[in-house]
């Protein structure tokens, strides 16, 4: 019985993966399709990759996106995890308000938040450029981190920390050896969220990046409006391919799927 259920479960997972990868495969296939209108069947060509090589703006934007996403991930994960622990551990007036305050950045369409940031930063005299973009991205990523880490904390037994303390552990030792190991899968998941939020974030970068020095989603958006999509498919395929290789490598080294 268990074996049957497991088989069904695995089948379900495989079907889901097929669903998740259908558009990715379409994208990859079309990046090798000579027709700019995606006519079928695919007529194999590498012309879009060749075009991409000559597109310095797109390559620069891809690199900008990567480093901005990495910086955002580091800052947002650290700040968000701390805030999640703070919200979980303490009861104080206004706590419910702070929790509710996590939703506006997610609920209000990014276009409005982005416009608001643009206007506000302008009033403050913060210039457009990568630092402003990072400030915006981190702010958007923090709520995701707090919510994801907070969900894991709900199942955390405070007696564990209590026990460690009573055995003479200092606060940082409790954090390093008890709390964080328990939280690790959630923190890693939250970091992946933060990276995805930043890497895919369009509106904030669109308004706050300096002209001529933008991020990949902004370039992609502008390109799609004008009809150079196969090149965009090519760069997206490369990005996915590289991330896949990198992630598998990291997974082999860190084995984070097994962290308990």
């Amino acid at each position: 019985m268990t074996a049957v259920l497991n088989a069904i479960g695995r089948g379900w997972l495989i079907l889901t993966l097929a669903f998740l990868y259908l558009p990715i495969l379409v994208m990859a296939a079309m990046s090798f399709n000579a027709s700019p209108f995606y006519r079928l069947p695919v007529e194999f060509s590498t012309r879009w990759y060749a075009a991409l090589m000559g597109n310095a703006a797109l390559k620069q934007a891809a690199w900008n996106s990567v480093w901005i996403a990495l910086v955002t991930t580091a800052i947002a994960t650290a700040l968000g995890t701390a805030a999640a622990i703070g919200l979980h551990r303490h009861r104080f007036p206004g706590r419910a308000l702070l929790q509710a305050a996590l939703y506006p950045p997610i609920a209000i369409p990014w276009l409005i938040t982005g416009t608001a940031m643009l206007v506000f930063f302008y009033f403050l005299g913060i210039p457009r450029g990568s630092p402003a973009v990072v400030v915006g991205h981190v702010a958007l990523a923090i709520p995701y981190v707090v919510i994801v880490v907070g969900a894991r904390l709900k199942g955390f037994d405070p007696a564990l920390e209590e026990a460690a303390r009573s055995l003479g552990a200092r606060p940082w030792q409790v954090a390093a050896w008890v709390t964080l190991p328990y939280l690790a899968p959630a923190v890693i998941a939250a970091a992946l969220f933060a990276f995805a939020v930043s890497f895919d974030q369009f509106v904030i970068s669109y308004f706050l990046a300096a002209p001529g020095d933008t991020t990949l989603p902004v370039e992609i958006y502008a390109a799609i409006r004008k009809g150079f999509t196969p090149e965009v498919n090519a760069v997206s395929t490369i990005v996915i391919g590289l991330s896949m290789a990198l992630m598998l490598l990291v997974a082999r080294l860190a084995r984070f799927g097994e962290v308990r």
């Binding site: 379900w12 889901t16 558009p23 622990i85 409005i112 907070g150 995805a196 895919d200 369009f202 598998l248």
Partner: protein
């Protein structure tokens, strides 16, 4: 023990500077008659909120967006929860890591490119149509493009990883010994599911559901591209106030109405979630 301030201050100060203060400015804009630029005259007013009531189609579209959010969230849970369980509990070793990564990666591709790829897949003469006709001997026209379902498919695809990821994190934390103990005491499979697995997975699944529902209600990109004529939602109406006309006051007011309704839905759902824990 120290207070919560050192833990909370950095994140919330950052949020205040980059989100809350700018959004307060938007809140102010929602209360004025015109944006004070270029010497425009403005007064404080509630007209922008009254506009929502004056034109019934706003409420109609908001309802439509809530419906969309509910359907997409429901489908994400239905598809994602079993996947999370399989990943967290039945697959071991290297395969698990590989599969885990495979689930997350699509999430890193560009949202716009994903949506456009769906467009290529769904439309008439597109990938699905072509594949179905290549397999089936008779002639079928598969064209899901520009429909409500196209929007749902695109959104479920974009947000499914949220549920799988948060569900995985919660389910992976369930102590196997609890399940064994219940089993040895004679609990049925169904009872274990309802009394142990589901309650313990709930915080994770609920967090995932919130992360899906909240942005989907305000989404405008996927509906616009995949929905065609069926792609008018509350999010697209808000977007128009910023792109088609210079009516930030109305756009801001509609956004805050959206936010209030979403928070009300979450508040209404909170007791149900808490009771089941």
């Amino acid at each position: 023990m120290r207070g919560p301030v050192p833990l909370l201050a950095p994140a919330y100060l950052w949020l205040t500077l980059a989100v809350f203060l700018p959004l307060s400015a938007m809140g102010f804009f929602s209360l004025v008659s015109d944006i004070p630029v270029g010497g425009r005259a403005w007064t404080l007013t509630l007209d922008n909120y009254a506009e929502f009531l004056a034109r019934p189609f706003y409420a109609q579209l908001l309802w439509r967006s809530l419906e969309l959010g509910a359907v997409v969230t429901g489908l994400c849970l239905l598809i994602g929860a079993p996947c999370a369980w399989v990943l967290a509990r039945t697959i071991r070793g290297r395969w698990r890591e590989a599969l885990f990564i495979l689930v997350i990666l699509p999430f890193w591709s560009n949202g716009l490119v994903r949506v456009f790829s769906w467009a290529i897949a769904l439309r008439g003469g597109g990938v699905l149509d072509w594949a179905v006709n290549a397999i089936l001997p008779w002639d079928v026209r598969v064209n899901l493009m520009f429909s409500w379902w196209a929007v749902v498919i695109g959104l479920v695809h974009s947000y499914l990883p949220y549920v799988i990821l948060t569900g995985y994190v919660a389910m992976q934390a369930i102590d196997q010994r609890l399940i064994e103990a219940a089993r040895s005491l004679g609990a049925s499979r169904r009872m274990i599911l309802w009394r142990i697995v589901l309650p313990l997975s709930l915080p994770g699944l609920a967090a995932g559901a919130v992360l899906v529902f909240v942005p989907v209600v305000g989404s405008f990109m996927e509906p616009r591209i995949l929905g065609g004529r069926a792609g008018t939602f509350f999010g697209t109406v808000i977007e128009d106030q910023f792109t088609a006309v210079f009516n930030w006051p109305l756009g801001a007011a509609l956004s805050f109405i959206l936010l209030a309704v979403v928070l009300a839905v979450l508040a209404a759902a909170a007791p149900i979630l808490r009771r089941s824990q």
